[in-house]
């Protein structure tokens, strides 16, 4: 069942705005509970990890160039390169390999 794309956009916009606005308005106090704070702390890293791997390997349609892009991104991120450098070099490596093979 496929909905109209604008219905999806409305749903996501409302959910996302509520997450942003509730702490500013209703929940004015800092979240004190240690487990909730820890949960909120881990969530972004876990969710981005699940979204990135193994999707990045399959993103190019060729497992080897995808894996190369993944490894380059890991290495550059590990030595502390900026967001744009990591993303850009990862793309560049994939591009070069795709052109060669």
């Amino acid at each position: 069942m496929r909905h109209n794309v604008y219905i999806y956009i409305v749903v996501m916009a409302i959910v996302t705005y509520l997450i942003r606005v509730l702490p500013f308005t209703l929940i004015r106090k800092d979240i004190k509970n240690k487990t909730i704070r820890s949960f909120l702390y881990y969530v972004p890293y876990v969710t981005l990890s699940v979204m990135t791997f193994p999707s990045i390997i399959n993103a190019t349609g060729n497992v080897y160039t995808g894996a190369a892009g993944f490894i380059v991104a890991l290495l550059l991120a590990f030595i502390g390169k900026s967001l744009i450098t990591v993303a850009g070099c990862s793309c560049a490596v994939v591009l070069i390999l795709e052109l060669i093979f």
Binding site: D30, P44, A73, G88
Partner: protein, 245 residues
């Protein structure tokens, strides 16, 4: 203390967010290409970017739209993926200038992204909402313009370039998760476990009926909750880390 006018704060925020806008432009360009592949036209993709302003959330949403997911999956996935904004909003809620009218809280809330939060939180003393407005006025158009251009020009570029740009967002996500993994072993363990579970999930035939959006939700909640219970964060440690960054 000298008082700085709202207009000056607006200008400061706008100037500070020029590098953010340039980064957004590049990242949202590849988001636009993905949007095109998910079947969105330039208008729909631009409206999505304008109303959501969230890279990971929009990216996951495109997956759900192209696989024809339910609205409940969409709502849950956005809730989980964007949950990090709740912590950021909590921090800014304490920092925003209380002498300004209450409605400003609704405006500033809309601009809570990783980057705009970052510069708003770095402002000394109380946050004048106009600083964040200035940042939003420059960064959000960059985000929308990039998305729009991605949809339009994604088609005109040679396929090999479009393919390569397909890893850009993933590269960005890696750049977000690796630095904290170096600082905190618990984060590193959570990241590694998440990746193992994610690829393991794909190899279990019984799970193939479950949509990609639902997979992200289940794995994120289970793994994050397990880590929150087993390895809760030390609040003092957290504060010193926040001060560092």
């Amino acid at each position: 203390m000298k008082t700085i006018s709202n207009k000056t704060f607006l200008k400061m925020g706008a100037l500070d967010s020029i590098p953010i806008a340039l980064g957004y432009l590049a990242v949202s360009f590849s988001l636009g290409i993905q949007a095109k592949q998910a079947g969105l036209d330039a208008l729909a993709a631009t409206i999505m970017s304008l109303t959501n302003v969230t890279s990971a959330g929009e990216f996951a949403a495109l997956g759900i739209i192209s696989e024809g997911g339910t609205l409940a999956t969409m709502a849950c996935s956005q809730f989980i993926i964007n949950l990090r904004y709740m912590l950021m909003s909590c921090s800014l809620s304490q920092k925003i200038d209380n002498e300004k009218p209450f409605f400003h809280r609704f405006g500033v809330a809309f601009g809570v992204t990783d980057e705009i939060f970052g510069i708003s939180y770095a402002v000394k003393g109380r946050l004048n909402p106009f600083y964040t407005y200035g940042a939003m006025l420059v960064a959000i158009p960059g985000w929308c313009l990039g998305t729009c251009l991605g949809v339009i020009f994604g088609n005109l570029l040679p396929e090999v370039i479009v393919t390569s740009l397909g890893v850009a967002l993933y590269g960005m996500f890696i750049a977000i998760i690796i630095p904290p993994s170096k600082k905190d072993r618990c984060v590193a363990a959570a990241v590694i476990l998440a990746m193992i579970c994610s690829i393991g999930w794909d190899y279990i035939p019984a799970f193939h009926a479950i949509s990609g959006g639902t997979k992200i939700i289940i794995l994120t909640v289970v793994i994050s909750l397990a880590f929150a219970i087993l390895f809760p964060r030390n609040e003092e440690e957290e504060e010193s880390k926040e001060a560092e960054s």
